[in-house]
């Protein structure tokens, strides 16, 4: 089957600065995919290249098998983006805006779907309100609605939950999950790693324009120490010699697989002369994986 997204050796330069340093990536149809990375890693640049908002310096990108430059009409028909920036057109009401956006995608009559989207995003009461009068979170919901007017099979959400309240966040994920179950491919960027962990089946981590990790969420969690032992010690250097990773001040973290290993670890710390003052045991989570991947890369 054609991949939903195919990115092949894409680079992007802004003057001397390299925002993307050769990214290759495939996302299969029906995936719920996470694109993670620190600020400035190049996530938005990659998404903009897919959307045709940015021209890559080299490499090719395809959406559902359509090159985003040479076959842009088909590629864009199949692609919906929720942009990171909270942008809106102050001249129009929510419904006007969605009608206009449908028209841009060649759809003359779209009321039924517009109503369904508005309903799912709890926007029906605001349908006739001017964009200017909406709160920040509501404007973001409209951005989601705008991305969906043409029912794109591939949907990319660039930090859709920044500044959004708990209720909408849950409602939004419910809706996006439903779209995913119906066969839409979802790509998500977020800095809330629990969100990515529960939603995404596969994750790519980006750092300085390069992919530094790419695997299923489960495998990533497993690969990078399944559990963690955090200890506060009197002598952090001594603890580091045992093989930990320093976090802040006197906290040092170790990974371990089985609880039986904890005893040995503590024994080695004692031998090394790093007096243990406090202990925390952490279940594996994506945040730990993320920190470790970023430190290694």
């Amino acid at each position: 089957m054609t991949p939903a997204i195919r990115i092949d050796s894409v680079t992007k330069h802004y003057g001397a600065f390299q925002a993307l340093a050769g990214v290759s990536l495939e996302v299969a149809q029906g995936e719920f995919f996470g694109l993670l990375g620190p600020n400035g890693a190049g996530k938005t640049t990659l998404i903009s290249s897919l959307a045709g908002l940015t021209r890559p310096s080299s490499g090719t990108l395809e959406v559902m098998g359509h090159d985003v430059v040479t076959d842009y009409r088909r590629a864009r028909m199949k692609f919906g983006v929720v942009p990171q920036e909270l942008v809106f057109d102050p001249f129009f009401s929510v419904r006007e805006l969605l009608r206009i956006q449908s028209g841009y995608f060649g759809i003359a009559r779209n009321e039924e779907w517009i109503d369904e989207v508005l309903d799912n995003l709890d926007l029906l009461p605001k349908a006739n309100a001017n964009m200017r009068t909406l709160s920040g979170g509501m404007k973001r919901r409209v951005l989601v609605a705008q991305a969906l007017v043409h029912r794109p099979p591939v949907i990319v959400l660039d930090e859709p939950t920044a500044g959004v309240d708990v209720e909408l966040r849950q409602g939004l994920w419910q809706f996006i999950r439903k779209l995913n179950r119906d066969g839409h491919t979802i790509v998500l960027t977020t800095h809330y790693l629990e969100e990515a962990e529960t939603l995404c089946g596969r994750i790519a981590m980006l750092k300085a324009g390069k992919i530094v990790a790419l695997d299923s969420t489960r495998a990533l969690l497993k690969q990078f120490a399944s559990h963690s032992l955090r200890v506060r010690v009197t002598d952090a250097d001594a603890a580091l010699a045992v093989g930990g990773v320093i976090e802040d001040g006197s906290w040092v973290t170790f990974g371990f697989d089985a609880y039986a290993d904890v005893e040995q670890l503590l024994a080695r710390l004692r031998e090394a002369g790093a007096g243990v003052e406090e202990i925390q045991i952490g279940e594996p989570d994506l945040e730990r994986v993320f920190v470790e991947v970023m430190n290694r890369a």
Binding site: G52, K78, D89, F91, Q101, Y104, I107, R151, P153
Partner: protein, 262 residues
């Protein structure tokens, strides 16, 4: 499968919607975008005609006020056609909502045509507005309506296209007003809106002949009076060539994604 749904695409609807949106954008604030420029032009007319009407006649027996009206109509039309596309684009760029027209499958030709056509429409509306308001006060003939329409549309399209270039190039509003104040305004003012260039000393006459705005206004005026400073065919050739050149330039900027898809 959601895939088949999106296979159909009608570029015509995309273009039509963008055009409609651009029209709605100025029409919703029509007081500023149509009524205000009409008022402006009428004020010009009142002042100049009051001062000069009795002292000046042009083309023999045409009163100065009558002579002035087509020039004012054209000047307002041109300035507003420019203002429309340029301010729409820079606003969209600064607020960031330009992405909503860049994300859809709209080609750069459709994009160009929609913005320019909407600009022409606003220019025509302002022009007709000035004409309607002035009509009761002057006895304005219309010798060749087709020439009037042709120059109005071509002039509007040239300035609409120029507005697309300026709107894409400018990063800030003051860069745009520099365009307007240092290029568009002087060129229109010195194009013979307020005088027939035959009344100018020789050097200034020759300078006027390299100003494309002169040909737009002179050709437009020919449509009303059947008389003009130069042959209307020459004006048509110059204005037509300007339109082709400027459109080609604008289209090539858009095709490269200059500043819009960088």
């Amino acid at each position: 499968m959601p895939d088949r749904e999106s296979e159909r695409f009608s570029p015509w609807i995309g273009f039509r919607t963008l055009f409609y949106k651009e029209v709605l954008r100025f029409w919703k604030v029509g007081f500023q975008t149509v009524a205000a420029p009409v008022l402006n032009a009428v004020l010009f007319l009142l002042i100049f005609s009051h001062v000069l009407d009795r002292h000046v006649t042009v083309y023999g027996d045409i009163s100065y006020t009558t002579f002035l009206v087509p020039g004012l109509i054209m000047m307002s039309l041109l300035q507003n056609a420019f203002a429309n596309s340029s301010s729409s684009l820079i606003q969209s760029k600064i607020t960031g909502n330009i992405i909503f027209v860049l994300l859809p499958p709209i080609s750069y030709r459709e994009f160009f045509t929609a913005y320019v056509t909407a600009s022409v429409l606003r220019g025509l509306m302002v022009g007709v507005g000035v004409w309607l308001v002035a009509a009761p006060f002057v006895d304005l003939p219309m010798a060749h309506p087709l020439w009037v329409l042709m120059f109005a549309v071509l002039g509007g399209a040239i300035l609409g296209s120029f507005g697309v270039i300026a709107g894409i190039w400018a990063d800030k509003f003051d860069q745009l007003s520099a365009f307007q104040n240092f290029l568009i305004m002087p060129l229109t003012m010195l194009s013979g809106v307020f005088y027939s260039i035959h009344s100018l000393p020789g050097l200034w006459q020759s300078i006027s002949h390299v100003n494309p705005f002169f040909f737009m206004i002179d050709g437009f005026r020919y449509g009303f009076f059947g008389q003009s400073d130069v042959s209307p065919w020459l004006s048509l050739a110059v204005v037509g060539a300007c339109f082709v050149l400027l459109s080609a330039l604008t289209l090539s900027m858009l095709a490269r994604g200059y500043k819009l898809r960088n």
